[in-house]
């Protein structure tokens, strides 16, 4: 599972992690559950269907799946109650949407249930279908509730297949097969949410994985806490650049802003290091994320 505050790079990191896990020719499934087509956007594909499709653009057995709660409920109804056509009729009327919305817990049980099914699925030879299933999970603000399926189920249903299904999911989530990685930026709020989420996971007994610092920048000026005017002036002159007052003042202001930023980042890094989880840093890709960029991040995660 890959979670983190909104916008920190969950989808990007989940994709990179999935790609890294295909190393050695393994088959990996990358799943999204938020109905946002984030994977399609990342890989520049048409919207993904509710089906496991191999990503043709990479030389690896990486499969993508966008789980949809309504589809998952229909699949479920078909499986247990053979409600194929009637189910689709209900969907047209909005009943399926209704059922998965009015009871938010039901939605999460269906989504995590599908992840469990893919994780434990075997092929014809009895081997696990996937080496790993990587979930681009909901953000930290909702992760506890999302993963706490049994509590939600208990609130909704005292008996019946939903209850036993949720118990199966809960057991898997609490087993060593699961690891919840936390993506963060070196900014105040994402770091705070990482701290909160770790506490929440611990309380739920769900294993936390690594802290992944995304968008990390090269440590420029780290050995130079003070940028003096004289040193800067000599350097500019030697480089054949204008060394007038305005240029020097402008560049110094930029350098000082950078130092202030890195001081704050350093403080946040220290805070993160006290959380007791292994930390991995992924660089800020200066020109944004494309397939090559995902591959670069995958190489770092893989090593």
């Amino acid at each position: 599972m890959v979670t983190g505050k909104g916008g920190v790079g969950k989808t990007t990191v989940a994709a990179a992690l999935a790609l890294a896990l295909t190393a050695g020719g393994e088959r990996v499934l990358l799943v999204e559950v938020e109905g946002r087509q984030g994977l399609a956007q990342l890989f520049e594909l048409e919207p993904l269907p509710y089906a496991e499709r191999r990503l043709g653009e990479v030389d690896a057995d990486l499969r993508l799946l966008a789980v949809d709660a309504e589809e998952a409920l229909l699949e479920y109804l078909e499986l247990f109650y053979k409600m194929g056509r009637a189910g689709r009729a209900l969907r047209k009327l909005g009943a399926i949407d209704f059922a998965t919305t009015v009871a938010p817990g039901l939605r999460d049980i269906l989504l995590t249930g599908k992840v469990k099914e893919a994780t434990t699925r075997k092929d014809d030879n009895g081997n696990r279908m996937y080496r790993a299933v990587v979930l681009d999970a909901p953000p930290t603000g909702r992760i506890g509730r999302f993963l706490n399926v049994t509590a939600e189920a208990a609130r909704l249903a005292k008996l019946g297949p939903i209850k036993s299904q949720s118990e199966g999911v809960a057991a898997l989530l609490r087993s060593p097969m699961t690891s919840v990685h936390l993506v963060t930026l070196l900014e105040e709020m994402p770091v705070q949410e990482t701290t909160d989420a770790l506490q929440e996971l611990a309380a739920l007994g769900i294993p936390a994985g690594k802290i992944i610092i995304n968008g990390s920048r090269p440590p420029l000026l780290s050995g130079h806490p003070k940028v003096t005017q004289a040193a800067l002036k000599r350097g500019l002159a030697d480089a054949g650049l204008p060394a007038d007052q305005a240029t020097i003042a402008g560049l110094r202001a930029e350098a000082n802003a950078h130092l202030a930023r890195t001081a704050l980042e350093e403080q946040l890094r220290t805070e993160l290091s006290h959380l007791g989880r292994p930390i991995v840093e992924l660089p800020l890709l200066p020109d944004g994320v494309d397939l090559d960029g995902v591959q670069r991040l995958a190489n770092i995660l893989g090593s």
Partner: protein, 368 residues
């Protein structure tokens, strides 16, 4: 075109400013900065309704308690509050129903789920709080922050969606033929619903339907329809006394969302005052471009390591500035008529009053 923010804040006809945009772009910061400036610079009786502010900002605004009422911010004329969505929902219930009935509703598991987790409840309750503040009539200006949803449009759509669910035909039909009105639906459909109800019962247990039914009938007796309320607040948003300030960061997702939102406001005839491009990087040395700076840095790395790194910092900054202005142009090319305010990225987070004043001045282009 430049956004004349001070004119907007000073305009007595403008009574509500809604700060919207996609997640994390700076909606809460902008709302707080605008509120503070309206109160301090323009002397308007201003309240800012914040939603999930960062902890340190909340502390600076004195929002240490979630008590759902506006409080004066220390050393300022601004009043601020933080939305407590569950409590607002409870208040709505309490004002419309007898205490024993309210108790029943509060203990219903559907109410609990809906009042705390339903996506859309936060948006709905923000609107609800806005109408409450508006009818209190003690404010010249209400500045509203919007919930941290991934899509800016959620703010417009979620209340109606929640209204539809709570007020919905679907609930009535689902609850079966016992309830009046459902017979009008033609047979095959109601047969499917019958089957569906049975399946729901099998999967989730009969208790669930009982709870659901209790929830619906409780709400039913209570309001003249959630949908009506949602529609009413929607109309407030179309009123000329409301101004939308759209916030975006110069990143692809945020700009795309801002464009969707601007289109939508236009279609709904909701008044868009302008776009705030927040966290824009800037330089005092624009004539030294990224490539020149990087080349110079490598030329003097050995002889002048400090100057070389300063040039590298500048080079990275210039690259970022070029990328960001390209992003901004995506929006401004598409909406040349929408005024824009640019707010520089601060070196550190904005979490105190002096930080908010700096942002406020930048929003009004009144820096220095």
């Amino acid at each position: 075109m430049m956004l004349r923010m001070d004119a907007l804040l000073a305009d007595p006809e403008v009574k509500i400013i809604v700060c919207c945009g996609s997640g994390g772009v700076g909606k809460t910061t902008t709302a707080a900065a605008l509120g503070l400036r309206a109160a301090e610079v323009h002397g308007r009786r201003t309240v800012v309704l914040t939603i999930d502010p960062a902890r340190r900002l909340a502390q600076s605004l004195g929002l240490t308690e979630l008590d759902n009422t506006p409080r004066q911010v220390k050393d300022t004329q601004l009043h601020a509050m933080m939305l407590d969505m569950k409590r607002t929902f409870d208040e709505v219930v309490l004002t419309h129903t007898a205490p024993e009935r309210a108790k029943e509703i509060f203990s219903n598991p559907f109410y609990q789920a809906m009042s705390s987790t339903f996506s859309g409840t936060q948006e709905y309750m923000a609107m609800e709080k806005l109408s409450q503040l508006r009818s209190a009539d003690s404010w010249d200006l209400i500045v509203v922050d919007t919930p941290p949803s991934r899509s800016a449009l959620d703010f417009l759509d979620a209340p109606a969606r929640l209204g539809r669910f709570l007020d919905g035909r679907m609930l009535r039909i689902l609850l079966g033929p016992a309830r009046a009105g459902s017979r009008s639906v033609f047979n095959l459909v109601s047969a499917s619903f019958g089957a569906f109800s049975k399946v729901v019962q099998k999967i989730l247990g009969a208790q669930l339907l009982t709870d659901l039914s209790g929830f619906v009938s409780a709400l039913d007796s209570m309001f003249g329809g959630f949908r009506d309320r949602a529609e009413e607040t929607y109309r407030i948003l179309q009123d000329p006394q409301t101004a939308f300030v759209l916030v975006a960061a110069p990143e692809p997702d945020a700009i795309r969302e801002a464009a969707y939102f601007a289109e939508r406001l236009n279609a709904e005839q909701m008044p868009l005052a302008g776009l705030v491009l927040n966290r824009m990087h800037e330089t005092a040395v624009p004539e030294l471009d990224a490539a020149t700076s990087a080349a110079a840095a490598s030329a003097i790395r050995a002889s002048h390591p400090l100057a070389a790194e300063v040039l590298e910092v500048h080079s990275l900054l210039m690259r970022q500035i070029v990328r960001e202005s390209g992003m901004a142009a995506h929006f401004t090319d598409q909406f040349p008529g929408v005024p824009v305010a640019k707010v520089p990225a601060q070196a550190t987070d904005v979490h105190d009053l002096s930080g908010l004043r700096i942002i406020g001045a930048a929003l009004a282009d009144a820096v220095g």
